[in-house]
Amino acid sequence: MGVDSLDPPSAVSRAGPRPGRRVRTLRLGGLALAVGVVLADSSIVVLALPNVLGEFSTSIARVAWVLVAFNLVLAVAAVPTAWLSRRVGARSVMLAGLFVLGIASAACAAAGSIDQLIAARCAQAIGAAAVVGAALELLTEVGGDEHRAVRTWTTAGAAGAALGPAVGGVITQLVSWRAVFVIQVPAVVIVLAIVWGIRATVPLRTPVDRPRLAVNAALGLLSAALTAALFLLVLMLVDGWRMTPVAAALTVSVMPAVAIAAARFVPLVESLRVRAAAGCVLVGGGLAALGELPRGVPAWTFAPQVAIGLGLALALSSLTEAALEDRSPAAMHGAWTIAMRHAGVVLGILVLTPVFTADLTTQTATAQDAGAAIVLNANLPLLPKLALGSALEHQVERTPDYVPNLTPAFRAQHPSPGQRPAYRQVEAALAGQIRRAGTAAFARAFRIAALIALAGLVPLAVARRLRSAG
């Protein structure tokens, strides 16, 4: 293994003998995989949180820190680790980051308490920060083209962030929430082996340009809004509509599929500013439509997801490119974009979580009233009606923080064959009210997120010197 050196700072050539095309492709793929895994980590646990909550018997507020802690630490650590990367070399920082990420992922999988899990998530975020910053520099070194490196880095990050909840949901249901972290370990080991083979280069001490504040602010606001699309939508499907994690994962896969498919057409739009503005508008429109769902049916989420997916493809890459354009060094400014994106995610979670939890409580109470009215007016004799009402009440009390699952209450009844249609009618009517509550509870948070996305247009309007030709 070569040792990265600080001296001499500028006189040593960075170009060694170029590896073969296949090796370069493998290395570029490995680095992109690392960026994808790291940014998927930001959202991969969303669908696992109900299981974590159940296993550790903790509160919703506490379990939310499994998500918040990672994004917060990543936002704080991104720029310092990028600075370190400049001082000691990207390869060394990348290897150290991967090592920490691997160990921390294993620790997350083995966590015995919620505190251990949160602590391991913080360590994971430190490793992730080192990896994602150094990866941009290594992508440039390996590929030899900074513009293409930025595009690969941005696309891998966007794909990882968008696919995270769906992948996490499938793994959680098919295996367990711990498996979400276990599968990261071999991925990290593979990238570690690939990066190990990259030749160490001497870090260059080029002057550091000031970050583009307006563009980064727009990126932060867009990320805060996307929190609703990536996290709230999944929570609505699982907790509000009581869908299984796999079904929820399949439902939300429309958004990343559209984002990935649209990414290749995005460069056809010349102006970065217009691309980013159109993206913010589409994300805002999609989120506002999610706040106006006319039915609690997955198909109604598809059109808003298409709009958000298109917006994501347009805005995220454009804003990241704009933040890095003519800025040196790229890795440092890439780190600024990561810091702002994850600060935005934290902002989104902190702003939107109290809104939807409060609305969930209100809507659950309203649904409870509506449900009681349905049972009272059911075509059943008084005593079976009272027994059913009592069983339903018991079931609601068992899950005070969530939209309740009423099926066990109906299974506990023993209706005569003549009464079965009436029971089925009551069950269907109650399920309808619960779905209405589960949808309405998230509406206000989606509308607020839409406004946050549109607020991203303000810094875009004041941003200067954005490239007009792509």
């Binding site: 739009v269 429109g285 506002a288 769902l293 006319p294 809507q363 009233d369 009215a373 949808t439």
Partner: protein, 152 residues
């Protein structure tokens, strides 16, 4: 592709999407509010004792809920147990006498609904209503609590 075309298209798509969803019923898709308990309860055609006791109970519940300015569903949930009833009284500052008065209003209302539906003879309804009016409120509240305890 002209850049501004994309921005105009994005604005148009967003407006059509949100407008379309609102027109399809978005914004009003929420749990249904139960009907006001102060509106008359329509009795089903009484064909059995089960149906009669059902209508009588629902009318009583509606009348009591109307008296307490709450929903029948809310009151029904409060009547799940003596504990939930105490919580309900405490949260709304309802004394035992007021609870008894609500029960009395409910019973009177039930006989009135039955009379309106033609299921209870008007003379009998009048006698039953007068009888209900004569019962002390506190006694009614105690009976309701004992009944709940017995049911549980």
């Amino acid at each position: 592709m002209r850049s501004w075309h994309v921005l105009v298209a994005a604005i148009a798509v967003s407006l059509v999407l949100v407008g379309g969803y609102r027109a399809a019923g978005g914004g009003s898709y929420a749990p249904k509010r139960p009907a006001s308990p102060c509106l008359p309860h329509h009795w089903s055609s009484v064909s059995s004792l089960d149906a009669a006791e059902n209508d009588l109970a629902l009318s009583t519940l509606d009348g009591a809920a109307c008296h307490l300015h709450t929903s029948a569903a809310d009151l029904a949930l409060a009547l799940a147990s003596t504990h939930t009833l105490e919580q309900f009284q405490h949260a709304r500052g309802i004394s035992d006498v007021e609870l008894g008065a609500a029960a009395k209003a409910g019973i009177v209302r039930a006989f009135a609904d039955g009379e309106r539906a033609g299921e209870i003879d008007s003379t009998l309804a009048g006698i039953l209503q007068a009888g209900a009016q004569a019962v002390p409120e506190k006694w009614l509240a105690d009976q309701a609590r004992q009944l709940l305890g017995a049911v549980r």
